[in-house]
């Protein structure tokens, strides 16, 4: 059965959202995870708590606050409009921002864990051998935590694909722009279009299983690799 354009749109949109979100999360999450892994004290504890919030708060809480935050009549909405010329509310960008916040702990926590397990002594040795902090990160930390990056990125990607509550509140269900797979699926069920619902849901299950299978099977079994 060929997929119709609504389904294709939803799939494309979901993949795009998950990819952009994952890329942003790895870029932003890595320095954050590193900073958290090397610090202790009230400030880092507070930031850790903030990062972990999406794990326990209902997605609707985040959705509610983002809905208010992105409205065109707020400072954020206005700033966005003046910078980009288009509205932030109900846009793909809004979904990206929401997804980044929502999937943040899934990327930051495994990375932080892995970074914490790198012995400080190893980094000191690297420093005495001429490596600056960035160099140390690239030449010592990254090779030792490659597997964790893969895990973190996969978790972030998969979690974003599965996002529903936040998108329901701030997406506006616009086909081609914010109607992601989970919303499209919800729509199909609501309107009793079970065939299409089956296709989408089944497809998602197969995708997730395949992703996880390759993740667990992948190379990087050397004993010294730090993995979560």
């Amino acid at each position: 059965m060929p997929l119709n354009s609504a389904e294709l749109d939803a799939i494309y949109l979901t993949v795009a959202l998950a990819s952009v979100t994952t890329a942003l999360l790895v870029l932003l999450g890595t320095p954050l995870a590193w900073w958290l892994s090397r610090r202790q004290g009230n400030l880092s504890a507070a930031i850790e708590a903030l990062v972990a919030m999406p794990l326990i708060l209902p997605p609707t809480v985040l959705g509610f606050y983002l809905l208010l935050l992105f409205a065109p009549d707020t400072a954020v909405g206005r700033a966005w409009e003046s910078l980009t010329g288009s509205q932030l509310a109900f846009s793909f960008s809004a979904l990206v921002i929401g997804s980044v916040i929502y999937s943040l702990p899934f990327v930051v926590q495994p990375l932080q864990s892995a970074f914490q397990r790198i012995p400080q002594g190893l980094l000191q040795a690297a420093a005495t051998l001429g490596a600056s902090p960035l160099d140390r990160f690239r030449s010592v930390v990254l090779p030792l935590t490659r597997r964790t990056f893969l895990t973190a990125a996969s978790l972030g990607f998969a979690h974003t694909v599965g996002e529903f509550g936040v998108v329901l509140m701030i997406g506006g269900n616009i086909p081609g722009e914010t109607q992601v797979l989970s919303i499209a699926l919800y729509d199909f069920v609501e309107t009793l279009r079970f065939d299409e619902a089956h296709r989408l849901a089944g497809g998602l299950v197969i995708f997730s299983l395949t992703l996880l299978f390759f993740l667990y099977r992948s190379s990087g079994t050397a004993s010294w690799r730090i993995r979560t």
Binding site: Q124, A125, A126, T128, L129, G130, V140
Partner: protein, 362 residues
């Protein structure tokens, strides 16, 4: 004259404060010796830049200032190499990878990869994964890696502490070899006086975070007023030249300022200089030259100094030509023999005491 100038105040853990001001020679091997907790590692970390001392501290090697009020050069910009007690090789690189790590990060220097591989006998280990190396092998690679930074100063923090006797001897031999081959000055931290005696030219004694004494090894070892002398293994160090071999009895003769010292066989060519460590407890005194004694090494000495103490045993500083010996005898004997300064007596040294390791450098 190259020197390392230190004026360091550093707060450590558990209320420990390092507070020392001294100038060390930046040539040869300087040992930093002291009991555990005296601040040796803290000192090394400050010099390396791994630990930040107080703002008013000064660390300066020759004309380069690494630490001054308002200025602290980070470790990767200091010309130091550091050999840690636990090697700290990078697990994701093989031996060659570890050795090449500093090469990519330093200007081409006086030390090349080939030299290091030769000096430390690493030819067979180059492709090995770090996890497969023995402790001794790891430490040799670590030394090589630190050397390949072509540092202006090599720091070693008890590098032999985690090694078994055989591996330790191996590494010790390598270090002596290195000291002769490169011009790189070394700061060697240890709590093992025998290691120190084998390697060091200069000695800094640390006690509770303060510099107790410093000076040349030979000099400090034979003094009565340092902490060294109060230790059970107090020993003097004398230098002799190989003057002959006694094959039939497995002995070697060394010339010490005209006197002849016999030790267990050393397979070294004649004319080569050698350091001998003579523990004070193995030296006894007699007023007259003993006859028919089993002890081979008996020398006429002059009493330079007697330790002023009420303890059961006291230490004597004896001069043998231009060198010095230490002898530890009971106070009762000293009194009974009526020993005094400037007395000319005979010192007997038990040969068994002259344990000399497989070293071949001065």
């Amino acid at each position: 004259m190259s020197s390392l100038q230190l004026d360091i105040q550093c707060q450590g853990e558990n209320d420990f404060t390092l507070d020392l001001k001294c100038q060390l020679p930046a040539a040869g091997i300087t040992a930093i010796y002291g009991p555990s907790g005296s601040g040796k590692s803290t000192l090394l970390d400050c010099i390396a830049g791994l630990r930040k001392p107080s703002d008013s501290s000064i660390i300066r090697l020759n004309h380069t200032s690494w630490q001054a009020p308002g200025r602290c050069v980070p470790p990767w910009r200091r010309g130091i190499g550091y050999v840690f007690q636990d090697a700290r090789l990078f697990p994701h690189l093989d031996t060659l990878g570890n050795l090449e790590y500093p090469l990519a990060r330093s200007r081409p220097g006086s030390v090349t990869l080939d030299q290091v591989v030769n000096w430390l006998e690493l030819h067979d280990l180059l492709t090995y994964k770090v996890s497969t190396l023995s402790a001794g092998q790891k430490q040799r690679v670590a030394i090589g890696r630190a050397l390949l930074r072509s540092p202006e100063l090599l720091l070693l923090d008890e590098p032999l502490a985690n090694l078994d006797h055989v591996a330790a001897s191996e590494c010790l031999r390598c270090l002596q070899h290195l000291s002769a081959n490169t011009r790189i000055p070394m700061l060697y931290v240890s709590h093992n006086i025998e290691e120190v005696c084998q390697l060091a030219d200069h000695l800094l004694l640390l006690e509770s975070g303060r510099a107790a004494e410093q000076g040349s090894l030979l000099d400090l070892c034979s003094r009565l007023d340092t902490r060294l002398s109060r230790e059970e293994q107090a020993a003097a160090i004398i230098t002799g030249t190989i003057s002959g071999q006694d094959e039939s009895f497995g002995l070697t003769e060394l010339d010490i300022d005209g006197h002849s010292l016999r030790v267990s066989q050393l397979r070294l060519p004649a004319g080569q200089s050698r350091r001998i460590r003579i523990p004070a407890r193995d030296v006894s005194i007699c007023r007259e030259r003993p006859r028919n004694s089993s002890i081979l090494n008996i020398f006429p000495v002059t009493i330079e100094e007697l330790e002023d103490t009420t303890a059961p045993r006291l230490l004597l500083r004896l001069s043998l030509g231009r060198q010095y010996l230490l002898a530890r005898i009971t106070r009762r004997s000293a009194v009974e023999l009526g020993l005094q300064k400037d007395d000319e007596v005979y010192a007997q040294i038990k040969s068994a005491a002259l344990l000399t390791g497989p070293t071949d450098a001065v």
